[in-house]
Amino acid sequence: MKKLLYAFLLVTSASLFAARAQAQVIVIANPSVKATEVSKNDLKDVFTGASTSLGGSNVVPVLLKSGTANEEFLQVYIGKNDTAYRAGWRSLVFSGQATMPKSLDGDAAVVDFVAHNSGAIGYIGKASPHEGVKVLTVK
């Protein structure tokens, strides 16, 4: 019985860990973006203003204003929290090097913007509907 209990705890812990490790956020792009997959480094460059192209396409990042998907995206792919991330963008804006990306209220607004703007790239929660956009695989 004790062994069974240990095995149960082990499997439960492993499942929880796997769920935690698997990103609950997806990266979406306008169908005009040629790329179908993106490296973590290239994704970081696009969302920190270091690059404006991806796989030969000009891209425009769009952000979520807040929420779990936003926090997870920034933590997993950018390596910063929301405050530090936006401070980085402000540094570019105040030195004349970039324009702040649009920040939208929720997943539906991001999907709508990405679907209707050539080159747009954004991120949403994995479970959110995302018709009219393509999902990019992050390598």
Binding site: S51, N58, R90, S91, F94
Partner: protein
């Protein structure tokens, strides 16, 4: 008149860029207009000496900045923007000035061009040295980034070309920037303090041309950037007024005034820097050298030589999502000055920043300064300068 002309030159690229926008992109939504800004209020207290032209030994709140930025992106590859600043630090500033006003066309990641009044991208931090919300320190290393005379180094009327070249998966990326233009040093800039202490003033300031280039190598080791820049200034030389008060004899107290000129040879400033960031940790360092000759032809010609070599090393660690702590050590030596505290400036600094949210932050910083070559004004220290100073800075800031 000169200011008006400079303003017109700075705003010309914006007017040209707006004129180039097709009629189909005329709505405000299409122009993607954004307004940003920030404001900071600092408080300085020193144990010895008054620093940065404030009465800091009594505690001084005379450090205020406010910035307003208006930008637009009318076309995917075209941005235009303008930024104005109110700056007060002791006896400096207390005026609204134009930070930059530029049009930027980025053809692709490999090539972009910016022109108008543009930030000069030399060194590690020059482009962002006046943007308080972007870093954790209250006062950057003063040998490399002197706050009292930063205006002439920050921006020029000209252009910048920039881009990023991929060197392959094993060699990383190379960012390049090249710039050229005209700059001005206003008559009230901190650069003139040491001249004024010798009775020499420059009623019209000075101006000149500047050109340079910078390379930032983003190495294959994630987070490691190494770079170098070279800047050449060619000053036109300003008209000076030399004032001399006869100290003794029958003419004691008589003021003699004459005019003259400041002549400088073109000067090169090489700069080497690096930064490494990993997770919550950051470490950076920079070294530059500025050397040259100048000739002051006032009452009697005064040849002078300077050889200034400032450097610093800094590190910071993000303790929590809201709290960051850091330390840096900075030194500045003028190798052409006689031995003594006025020849150098050494500064040990511990600093902390707390972000209440993405808009509001507070900073606290302690400096342990040895030497007096940077940041002091004899007029505000009539009893003479002590070689050591402890400087405490508290600062609040908000940005949007």
């Amino acid at each position: 008149m000169k200011r008006l002309l400079a303003g017109a030159i700075a705003l010309a690229p914006i007017a040209l860029a707006l004129g180039a926008i097709p009629a189909s992109a005329q709505s405000l939504e299409d122009l993607n207009i954004q307004i940003h800004g920030y404001a900071t209020q600092g408080f300085l207290y020193t144990t010895n000496n008054n620093i940065l032209t404030t009465s800091s030994s009594n505690g001084s709140p005379e450090w205020t900045e406010a910035v307003l930025n208006v930008g637009a992106q009318p076309l995917p590859k075209l941005r235009i923007g303008v930024q104005a600043r109110y700056f007060l630090l002791g006896n400096f500033g207390n005026a609204i000035t134009l930070d930059w006003a530029a049009a930027d066309y980025k053809a692709n990641d490999k090539f972009g061009v910016r022109f108008g009044k543009v930030k000069v991208p030399s060194g590690l931090l020059n482009e962002t040295q006046d943007i308080d919300p972007s870093y954790m320190w209250s006062l950057l290393p003063q040998g490399n980034y002197p706050i009292s005379s930063r205006n002439s180094a920050l921006a020029d009327y000209g252009g910048v070309v920039y881009g990023t070249l991929a060197l392959g998966p094993k060699l990383g990326k190379l960012e390049y920037r090249a710039w050229g233009g005209e700059f001005a040093i206003p008559s009230n800039d901190g650069y003139w303090v040491s001249f004024r202490e010798e009775g020499i003033s420059f009623p019209n300031g000075d101006s000149g041309t500047t050109a340079g280039g910078a390379l930032h190598w983003k190495t294959p080791l994630p987070g490691l950037m190494l770079g170098a820049s070279l800047n050449r200034d060619n000053r036109s030389g300003g008209a000076l007024v030399d004032t001399y008060v006869v100290p003794a004899g029958p003419s004691q107290g008589v003021t003699i005034t004459t005019t003259g000129t400041l002549t400088l040879n073109p000067s090169d400033t090489p700069d080497f820097f690096g930064r490494y960031e990993k997770n919550r940790f950051m470490v950076a360092g920079e070294y530059e050298r500025s050397a040259g000759n100048l000739l002051l032809s006032g009452l009697s010609p005064i040849p002078d030589y300077y050889d200034i070599r400032p450097w610093y090393g800094m590190a910071s660690y993000k303790l929590t999502d809201k709290l960051t702590a850091g330390v840096y050590h900075a030194e500045d030596f003028d190798h052409a000055t006689p031995l003594g505290p006025s020849r150098y400036f050494k500064d040990w600094v511990i600093s902390g920043r707390y972000d209440f949210n993405q808009y509001l932050y507070a900073k606290a910083e302690q400096h342990f300064i040895d030497g007096t070559s940077v940041g002091y004004d004899a007029d505000l220290n009539p009893g003479g300068l002590q070689p050591n100073t402890k400087l405490t800075i508290l600062k609040m800031g908000m940005s949007f």
